[in-house]
Amino acid sequence: MKISVSCLLAGILFGCGLTVSQMINPAKVISFLDISGNWDPSLAFVMGAALTVTFIGYRTVFNRKLPLFVDKFQVPARKDIDTKLILGASVFGIGWGITGLCPGPAIASISFGGNNSIIFVTTMTTTIFVYRYINSKV
């Protein structure tokens, strides 16, 4: 119960942050990526502020031995740079550049983004599930 409520609150705060910062607006994201046009650097401030808070916050959190409601921190340990990482990030960036949508804002927008949000989230989620399923078989 504590876990579910904590995650619900984290989700709400995340969704509120995406909304206040206007990351939820694909057109705003595109105008950030469009450095040769009428450039809108706002999203650099979103990333900068989020990163600063997380950087300091994580260090405070890791002063504790354990999280509040579970028995371990699950932090990715991988340090190797491989082709999959670069290829994956490249492909993700292309999809992001075409649509102005990345996973968080896309999901956050399904209650008000109409058919476009629903089509994007359904397609993305199906792709992710199929990818994971195939990956678990090979």
Partner: protein, 140 residues
């Protein structure tokens, strides 16, 4: 730069950061959306926390709309086939590269992860190039 909004961007960004910190403090998890979503079909994993997070993510914007409904007015630069192609690329890319704007861009970078720093530089670059190419091809 007439739409430049550094103050709301910074406040919103700080809220996203706080959400990521709280998720780590409470349940020890990275706030990477593509990873939380992909884990929904993982075997031997508790799904309740993932589902709770997504419910919050979806209702969150409505709380802000209660203050100002105009905040949920958004615009999609592409629709139809391009939207679908983009969604497939985002889906494959985030799984192949183990993360998206939140997982690598915020959480991973905050952990000073080499993989995340490189991934962020990469997706920012291909995103910028894609927008540039779209304009050239579209003749705008």
């Amino acid at each position: 730069m007439e739409n430049f909004s550094p103050i709301s961007a910074s406040i919103g960004g700080a809220m996203i950061g706080l959400a990521a910190v709280w998720l780590m403090a409470s349940v020890g998890r990275i706030a990477g959306i593509s990873g939380i979503l992909g884990g929904m079909i993982q075997k031997n994993d508790n799904k309740a926390w993932r589902l709770s997070f997504f419910i919050g993510l979806i209702i969150g914007p409505q709380f802000m709309a209660a203050i100002d409904p105009r905040i949920l007015t958004i615009e999609f630069p592409v629709e139809g086939p391009f939207l679908i192609i983009g969604a497939i690329l985002v889906g494959i890319g985030t799984q192949l590269g183990n993360g998206c704007t939140s997982g690598h861009g915020i959480c991973g970078n905050a952990l000073s992860s080499r993989r995340s720093i490189l991934a962020t530089i990469t997706f920012m670059t291909t995103g910028i190039v894609t927008v540039l190419l779209t304009k050239v091809i579209g003749g705008v």
